[in-house]
């Protein structure tokens, strides 16, 4: 029988390939796995092996032709009537010059991103009795922090544990306490600068009077302090105080100037991945960028990957132009940093990566309103304020279980979709410092009341900026309660790398038609934004129907309770 063999998927993002050379001629007999053609893509030349044993009946393209993935390459004649479907049988092409093999080979590292504590090298002898305090490990997977504000100045005398500096990480601002008493000799970084874990923050001189020798043993001390995370990472989500608007202090660029420290092999890998090394925070000695750093960067900022043109094309990245002041005397310039900038970065990443589509429906929550008003007083007796949110969380979890695709995230580097068998629901909260998203962990295992009290607790602490870093990560799906201010519905932005976010809106009395009668009903709009790369529209709609069904018939939720 004749078998059409199509150009298989030869690597992420590769949509087409150029036929460099045919390795077989029409009429040739080929064995399964025998290379039949050399295909060149943007990044590599690969040999495509034959999916079957048989005779080459027709080569569909000439050398030099550019063939889209999935186009017929060649027609085989096989005597085996039960030849497997060509696509399924086509072994993935093994690129000769692998485009991004390293990244793909290490997805497992993602599960354990715990970076080894930055080595605290003994201070150089030239430093005499001084001590270099480096940014400690401030939480799992945190590779860098931005200096929001110094709480001390050079020359100050500090006590052990006295807060030195406010550092902003991905999700929270923490105060870093001094590892020892002493005098501040030198601040090594300025407010606004981003510091990799392990880089020197500040130089302390020996405590007043008692001359401090600096044997290696003492140097280990701050690491231990940092590694215990909990006491150190006192979260303060401090409102960013804006210096007087003199316009002179602009936020330091994230892109570092000069040559980045990295070994030749790391530099090459960065180019292969199209990563601008200048953007990657280095965790190695003296801020050296390691291969692990690239890996981490790629996972955390997939949108920044590929920004650099790979080999062969000159990279073109226009530098941001400073905006000229129009009426300088009536404007105020405030450094764009802290939580605000992190929000900007993650929103940008989400919008440029996930393909958003938003779907809106209405829910008749009349019965939910009844159910809740009954339960509310019972809850109140236990000191719990029961809002609608716990019901919505429960309904969402129940629906996620039926539509596991909505509870995934995409590991682009590894080319794998991660299905999560746990349900950590983020609740977007509006705080004075900006948007934060505390996470209710294992929401499927919690009762309505437990969720209610957790929501209250998290919300209060979020408002006061007291959340721990760990309380804001690990979410698998986010709910945003945009509706309590007003509006009909919104188009929420996905909390990347999650694949969906649901917006909950105000419950209003709206006319509904029941049994041919217009009657007042309790109506709530629900909106959901999904990443269309992962979830198709129909699936998203069915998922919403499921959530709606639970909310319209809250009794059904009981069946899901545990």
């Amino acid at each position: 029988m004749a078998l059409e063999f199509r150009l298989p998927d030869i690597g992420e993002g590769v949509a087409e390939g150029e036929i460099v050379k045919w390795l077989v001629s029409e009429g040739d007999s080929v064995q399964e796995d025998q290379p039949i053609v050399e295909i060149m893509t943007d990044k590599a030349t690969v040999e495509i092996p034959s999916p079957v044993s048989g005779v080459v009946k027709e080569r569909k393209h000439a050398e030099g032709a550019v063939v889209p993935v999935d186009d017929v390459l060649v027609v085989f004649e096989t005597d085996d009537a039960a030849a497997p479907a060509p696509k399924a049988s086509a072994p993935p092409a093994a690129p000769k010059a692998q485009a991004a093999p390293k990244a793909a080979a290490t997805p497992k590292a993602a599960a354990a991103p715990k970076t080894p504590p930055a080595p605290q090298t003994a201070p150089a002898a030239a430093n005499g009795g001084s001590f270099e305090f480096r940014l400690p490990d401030i939480g799992e997977g945190v590779a860098e922090g931005e200096v929001v504000k110094w709480l001390v100045s050079a020359g100050d005398t500090v006590q052990e544990d006295q807060p030195l500096v406010e550092i902003m990480t991905d999700k929270a601002t923490v105060e870093i306490p001094s590892p020892r008493a002493g005098k501040i000799q030198e601040l090594r970084v300025e407010a606004g600068q981003t510091v990799p874990v392990g880089d020197v923050l500040v130089v302390l001189s020996g405590s007043s009077g008692a001359s401090q020798p600096t044997p290696a043993g003492v140097v280990a001390e701050p690491v231990a302090v940092g590694a215990t995370a909990a006491p150190v990472a006192r979260s303060t989500s401090a409102p960013v105080t804006a210096p007087s608007g003199n316009g002179s202090s602009v936020a330091a660029p994230v892109r570092r100037a000069g040559k980045v420290l990295a070994t030749p092999a790391t530099r090459k890998l960065a180019r292969e991945l199209g990563i601008d090394l200048q953007l990657v925070p280095g965790t190695g000695p003296r801020g050296r960028v390691t291969k692990d750093d690239l890996d981490r960067f790629q996972r955390r900022s997939p949108s920044a990957v590929g920004m650099m043109a790979p080999t062969g094309t000159a990279p073109a990245r226009p530098a941001p132009q400073p905006l000229a002041a129009v009426e300088p005397e009536r404007e105020e310039r405030v450094p764009f940093r802290g939580i605000r900038r992190k929000i900007a970065e993650s929103m940008t990443r989400s919008m440029y990566t996930a393909v958003h589509f938003t779907y809106v429906d209405e829910v008749d929550v009349s019965r939910l309103v009844d159910a809740r008003s009954q339960a509310k007083s019972i809850a109140a007796e236990q000191g719990v304020n029961l809002t609608y949110l716990p019901y919505i969380v429960k309904a969402t979890v129940a629906a996620l279980k039926k539509f596991p695709i909505v509870n995934t995230s995409l590991d682009e580097a590894a080319g794998e979709l991660i299905y999560k068998h746990y349900y950590h629901i983020g609740i977007a909260a509006d705080t004075p410092g900006g948007l934060v998203v505390p996470v209710i962990k294992n929401a499927d295992q919690k009762s309505l009341l437990e969720i209610a009290s957790e929501v209250t607790d998290l919300a209060t602490r979020a408002r006061d900026g007291k959340l721990q870093v760990d309380e804001m990560r690990g979410g698998t799906f986010t709910i945003t309660n945009a509706g309590n201010i007003g509006g009909l519905f919104a188009t929420p932005v996905i909390n990347f790398p999650e694949v969906a976010i649901m917006g909950v809106h105000q419950i209003k009395d709206r006319p509904v038609i029941r049994d041919g009668q217009i009657v007042p009903g309790k109506i709530m709009y629900l909106s959901i934004s999904l990443d269309h790369r992962i979830v198709d529209g129909a699936v998203g709609a069915r998922f919403m129907n499921e959530v709606i069904a639970y909310l319209e018939q809250p009794d059904r939720l009981l069946l899901e309770m545990r």
């Binding site: 990044k43 420290l261 790979p310």
Partner: protein, 469 residues
């Protein structure tokens, strides 16, 4: 006419290395050369000169042997013709090896004079007439040729560049070397060791201009000890035949002249790129004002499918630089991922006595680049190994950034410097600090310990040194 993926013009250390790599990457390659696999480096550059330098060193050691209790009656007898034949044999073997490697990658060898006649077309004048090569990509690796000066035109026998000197069948009694650069110093030293009376004339106030004077002064002292006549800040103004040889007029900066008689004259005053009769204009390839071919970090010329590497793109003129650029060009042509020229540490070696090797920034360059620096020095006099080898002239000098301690540059003047420098090159490529060198254990007794000690000296704590700076 034949067509190929890549045509390479020039089979020097740039071209032949690129050809092999392109072959490995599956490209169809034709390499065109006048007939010298290995180019200048192998046929009349690095290899033959180092062979003769080795021979001269052996003579030197023999002459010196009595100081350590080895008595040899009389002077060593030098059979210069045999020495040259041995050197030619080394070259021949290596050239054969290059040809084999090329064949191993099915690289087509085409002997003749190449000239571009279009963006993708090369005309090659071979022994059997003109052959046309059509290529998708072209790699220009034609190297450079020595310059002569008016009044001192090369005659290939008595007034020569290194190529001529390396082919002499008779050892000259006296030699005037014009130009105290790498070639002049290497060749001058070699002949001085073999017993020739050598005079070196240099325009600048030091030999090896461009190299840290702290390093070159050790070599300068060595030359003087060897009774090589050095005329610094001087120029050779006139060449006259006299008797069986020549009279060279040397004028110093005050205008005083002196006439030196000699049997032979070696002119080593610089190189010019081999771009003149190459037809590059027919492909639209641009040259700079000195005739070199400017390239980008992918080794591409202004014409995107035409690449250039090695001496033809400009100084420094180093074989390993040509080879590295060859590998980069090959990777780019074959669309390998992640390939570009991002070399941070290009080592350079001068086979003087003692040898000088440098990598990274010199003290002066580091300061000019705005670095606040710390310097660690360590003298060979304090090295046990150097003493056991009777080679205590020289030093290691490490330049580190004062704030970060990162290694910026290393300069070594010492016996064996050529082999010692690779550690420093690796360290700089890896982004090491001086402290990293100091913390790495170096075996004893070796010359390499001096690098560790100099790195310690950056922090004022060399062990085998009484004085810190």
């Amino acid at each position: 006419m034949h067509s190929t993926d890549v045509a390479i013009i020039g089979a020097g250390p740039g071209g032949y290395v690129a050809a092999i790599r392109l072959g490995q990457l599956g490209k169809k390659v034709t390499i065109i050369d006048r007939g010298y696999p290995g180019g200048v480096c192998l046929n009349w550059g690095c290899i033959p000169s180092k062979a003769l330098i080795h021979a001269a060193d052996v003579v030197d050691e023999i002459k010196n042997a009595s100081s350590i209790g080895i008595n040899i009656s009389g002077e060593p007898q030098i059979d210069f013709a045999k020495m040259i034949a041995w050197k030619d044999d080394v070259v021949k073997k290596l050239a054969g090896g290059v040809r084999q490697l090329l064949e191993g990658q099915k690289v087509q060898w085409l002997e003749g004079e190449a000239r571009l006649s279009g963006a993708h077309r090369i005309e090659v004048r071979t022994a059997n007439g003109v052959e046309t090569v059509e290529a998708q990509s072209i790699l220009v690796a034609t190297g450079a040729h020595p310059i002569d000066i008016p009044g001192f035109e090369f005659d290939g026998e008595n007034v020569v560049h290194s190529r001529g000197a390396l082919a002499w069948q008779k050892l000259p009694k006296s030699l005037v070397v014009i130009g105290g650069g790498v070639i002049g110093v290497e060749m001058g030293t070699l002949f001085a060791k073999l017993g020739t009376e050598v005079t070196i004339v240099e325009l600048m106030d030091q030999i090896l201009p461009g190299t840290d004077p702290e390093l070159t002064k050790v070599v300068q002292r060595g030359l003087k000890k060897r009774k090589v006549a050095l005329h610094l800040e001087s120029k050779a103004t006139k060449l006259e035949k006299r008797g069986g040889g020549y009279a060279v007029t040397i004028e110093n900066k005050k205008g005083k002249t002196e006439v030196v008689e000699c049997e032979k004259v070696l002119v080593g005053v610089g190189f010019r790129p081999n771009t003149k009769d190459l037809g590059l204009e027919s492909a639209g390839v641009k040259l700079d004002e000195r005739g070199f071919i400017p390239v980008d970090k992918y080794q591409r010329t202004n014409v995107s499918h035409i690449y250039a590497i090695g001496d033809v793109i400009g100084p420094p003129f180093l074989a390993h630089k040509a080879s590295k650029e060859g590998l980069i060009a090959a990777g780019v042509i074959a669309a390998e991922a992640g390939v570009e020229n991002d070399v941070r540490a290009m080592p350079a070696v001068i086979f003087s006595d003692p040898e000088i090797a440098t990598v990274g920034l010199s003290e002066e360059e580091a300061k000019k680049a705005g670095h606040e620096i710390r310097i660690g020095r360590f003298s060979m006099q304090a090295s046990g190994r150097a003493m056991t080898m009777q080679s205590t002239d020289g030093m290691v000098k490490i330049i580190a950034d004062a704030k970060s301690d990162l290694l910026l540059g290393v300069g070594i003047v010492a016996r064996g410097a050529s082999d010692l420098i690779s550690e420093a090159a690796l360290a700089i490529e890896m982004g090491a600090a001086a402290e990293d060198l100091a913390l790495t254990v170096h075996p004893h007794p070796t010359l390499s310990e001096t690098i560790m000690e100099a790195a310690e000296a950056v922090a004022d704590r060399a062990i085998h040194s009484l004085s810190s700076h």
